[in-house]
Each structure stands twice: as structure tokens, then as C-alpha cells.
């Protein structure tokens, strides 16, 4: 499996009135084509910053990001992003929210609409096209976020704590559905990078888990998850891996 994303010696420093604050220190990482990679770590370890650097939303202070072998400059249009806070526009309907990213890419109305409907269907939102975000539960709002990210037909899906704002039952349901979507050969997305502070979530979803430490954020371990799918959340092997990751974080 070749690397689709390569991070080389990424450092991120923010200037502060009281002096510089180093968020990430010399992070080097490869994301393999077709894998689900989870980035875990304590609050403030820079995992969300790392995700935004991968997407090109913020530049690193030092280091290089390569996508498919090429140095990245600016926003990577081959990535789609799902946010913890859903980031929906409240004055737009579900369909219009999904179409927003497509219109921004210059697609014509008809293509935008067809594409939006396809991904609304894929995430189980059909029937809700005319709903406004305030009419939806948290789980349904995140389905809109997911449909919007998938509709741009990205190669890589970036997810920043996508299920953290949801209750336990809804997040279990959405995690299962995410893995179904990842395995759907009809979808162009085949690589997922998910940032989470929930270790069980990482073990359930990922092929590989990268553990970050904080102050400044740096990689302490990369763990391959070789549990068969679908994952048995109650199995001793699952629990042992959760414990191992936990011991690296605390």
C-alpha cells in the first residue's frame, strides 16, 4: 500500500503575547492509501491542528505535506472534511447544505443537485432534503456533514472528532455506517483520517492508530490494529488494545 499523504517534520508554532506556543514538534507520518488512520491523544496535543494542516486549511510553520507524492500548497481539493460541530449553514436546507461545497467547485446546478441527492441517499438522509438543520437531531446533522464531505468525491476523508458531540447510541450507529460507506466500492473515498479522543472509537474504526503526546504535540507510537472486521467491541482482544492505547496516553 503506497502512502497517499506524507508529513515530513511538521512543526506548528503560534505566536502569543507571552511568547511562542509550539503546538506540533517534528511530526513525520505517512497515511497509506486505503487505510483508516486514527489520531488519538489528550486535549491540546495538536491532533485537530494536524488534521487542518493535512487539509491545507492552515500552513505548517516548518515541514512539508505531500499528497500523492507532490508537495501540497494551499487547500487540498482531494480531501473532504467532517467537523465535530457539523458546521452546517442554518438558513439552508439539507440539500442546499450538501450542494454548497459543490457549487464552490464550479459544478453546474444540475450536476450539483444530482451529486447532492446521490450522497444524501448514501448516508440515509433521503426524505430529509427539505429539512433545515434546526429540525434535525445531532445524528442527522452529522449525516449532513458527512454527505457534504462525500459529495465532493474526495480521495481522503478527514474527520475531526465527528461523533464526540453525539450520544453513545447515535455515535455507535454512525460509526457502523461510516465503515459501511468506507467499504462501498461505489464511493471514491478509500482513505480516512479520523481525530478522536475516544480510544474505543479509534480501536473500532482504525487500521492504524497514531498516539500523540502533548506540549508540544508529537508522535509517541503508531499501532497497527489487526482485529478482524466487523470489530467485536466486547472481545478481550479489543479491550486489551484499548488498554494499551490508554496506557500510552496517560
Amino acid at each position: 500500500m503506497p502512502a497517499i499523504i506524507e508529513l515530513e517534520h511538521i512543526t506548528k508554532i503560534y505566536p502569543r503575547p507571552e511568547g511562542e506556543s509550539q503546538i506540533l514538534a517534528d511530526v513525520s507520518l505517512e497515511v497509506m492509501d486505503g487505510e483508516v488512520l486514527a489520531v488519538v491523544g489528550p486535549s491540546g496535543c495538536g491532533k485537530s491542528t494536524l488534521l487542518r494542516i493535512i487539509h491545507g486549511l492552515i500552513p505548517p510553520s516548518a515541514g512539508v505535506v505531500r499528497f500523492a507524492g507532490r508537495a501540497q500548497d494551499g487547500i487540498n481539493l482531494s480531501c473532504g472534511m467532517v467537523f465535530q460541530s457539523f458546521a452546517l449553514l442554518p438558513w439552508l436546507t439539507v440539500e442546499q447544505n450538501v450542494m454548497v461545497g459543490l457549487e464552490a467547485r464550479g459544478l453546474d446546478d444540475e450536476t450539483c443537485r444530482k451529486r447532492a441527492m446521490k450522497y444524501i441517499d448514501k448516508v440515509g438522509l433521503d426524505g430529509n432534503e427539505e429539512a433545515y438543520p434546526r429540525e434535525l437531531s445531532g445524528g442527522m446533522k452529522q449525516r449532513v456533514g458527512l454527505a457534504r464531505a462525500l459529495a465532493v468525491e474526495p480521495k481522503v476523508l478527514l474527520m475531526d472528532e465527528p461523533f464526540s458531540a453525539l450520544d453513545a447510541l447515535t455515535s455507535i450507529n454512525l460509526r457502523e455506517e461510516l465503515i459501511d460507506l468506507w467499504g462501498d466500492p461505489a464511493l471514491p473515498v478509500d482513505t480516512i483520517v479520523i481525530v478522536t479522543h475516544l480510544i474505543e472509537e479509534a480501536v473500532e474504526l482504525a487500521d492504524r492508530i497514531v498516539v500523540l503526546a502533548s506540549n508540544p504535540g508529537r508522535i509517541v507510537e503508531s499501532i497497527k490494529v489487526e482485529l478482524p472486521r466487523p470489530r467485536e467491541r466486547k472481545s478481550p482482544e479489543f479491550s486489551a488494545l484499548v488498554d494499551r492505547v490508554f496506557s500510552l496516553i496517560v
Binding site: 446521490k118 441517499d121 440515509g124 433521503d126 426524505g127 445524528g139 447515535t170 450507529n173
Partner: protein
């Protein structure tokens, strides 16, 4: 048989409950489930009630037990799952009633106010607005009916074919 109110819960939670029960070999004590999930007991009861009404869970003697239908929903594709839930919803009197109302209405549309009034008459002990929200969310998931806030109309859902 009297019309039963819908519990104030969402379909994603019902499906999540089925996943959890599947993790527990299809059966778990309800109190222990609430503790494991760190979920208020009352809230979990609403989810269990919803799952029970849809035929996905049974509740013998303080346990929640996944039914064959619940297990089938977990193993189904998204569209099959939605079709299963649609069928389950259409067995419920409150859905049958609203569906009939829409089928007999001009252009299969009625103002939301009419649905609210119907719910208040049919289930006077319930909060009509809350029931309306649950009915709408379930009905949208099952693609039974839709609602436009712009026109404030409830309408029969006509599923759109996607490529």
C-alpha cells in the same frame, strides 16, 4: 386497538441500541445497559420503547432482547434498512392515520397545523408538538411523508430515484 404515542427518540438511537445489544449476544439487562452507556435511565427507556414499537427489540423481564428483525436491520444496506423501518412504521396506527389523511387530501398535502390538531385529538395526554417532531423525524427517515417549513405543509413522500 388504541393509537399508541411515539416515544420522543430518534431512529439513529434505536439502531445504536440494536448494535449494542448485538455486542451483548442480543440480550442485556436494561439497568446495566443504562450504566454502561452512561445514559439517563428514562432516556434509554424511550429508545427501548421506540425499538419495541418498531419490532426490533423485545423486553421480557427487565431485559432488552434484539429480535430477528432488529438483527436483520443491522445486516442490511442503508436502503434495505430504511425499507424495513418504513414497513415497521406503517404497522403503527399513528402512521396509518396520518398516511390516510395525506392520501385523501388534495395533492396529498395538508398544513402542518392539521396534523398537530389531529395528534392533539387522537392523543390528548401527549404533547402534540413533541409528538409531531418525532412523527416527522421517523416519517422522514422511513420516507413516508415529508414536511416543508417554507410552505408549512406535510406531504406524501415520493422517493426520488438517484443514480
Amino acid at each position: 386497538m388504541p393509537i399508541e404515542p411515539l416515544p420522543s427518540t430518534g431512529i439513529s438511537k434505536v439502531l445504536g441500541l440494536c448494535e449494542i445489544l448485538d455486542d451483548h449476544q442480543g440480550k442485556e439487562d436494561v439497568y446495566r445497559l443504562a450504566q454502561d452507556l452512561h445514559m439517563p435511565f428514562g432516556e434509554l427507556l424511550l429508545v427501548i420503547k421506540g425499538a419495541e414499537m418498531l419490532g426490533m427489540v423485545e423486553t421480557p423481564g427487565g431485559d432488552a432482547v434484539l429480535t430477528p428483525l432488529g438483527k436483520r436491520a443491522l445486516e442490511s444496506s442503508m436502503n434495505e434498512k430504511k425499507a424495513l423501518l418504513r414497513q415497521a412504521m406503517l404497522k403503527l396506527k399513528v402512521f396509518q392515520h396520518v398516511l390516510k389523511l395525506l392520501e385523501n387530501a388534495q395533492e396529498n398535502e395538508v398544513p402542518a397545523e392539521v396534523i398537530l390538531e389531529e395528534l392533539a385529538v387522537l392523543l390528548p395526554q401527549e404533547q402534540p408538538r413533541q409528538l409531531f417532531t418525532t412523527l416527522l423525524n421517523w416519517g422522514r427517515y422511513g420516507e413516508i411523508f415529508g414536511y416543508s417549513r417554507d410552505t408549512d405543509q406535510f406531504y406524501l413522500q415520493k422517493p426520488e430515484k438517484t443514480p
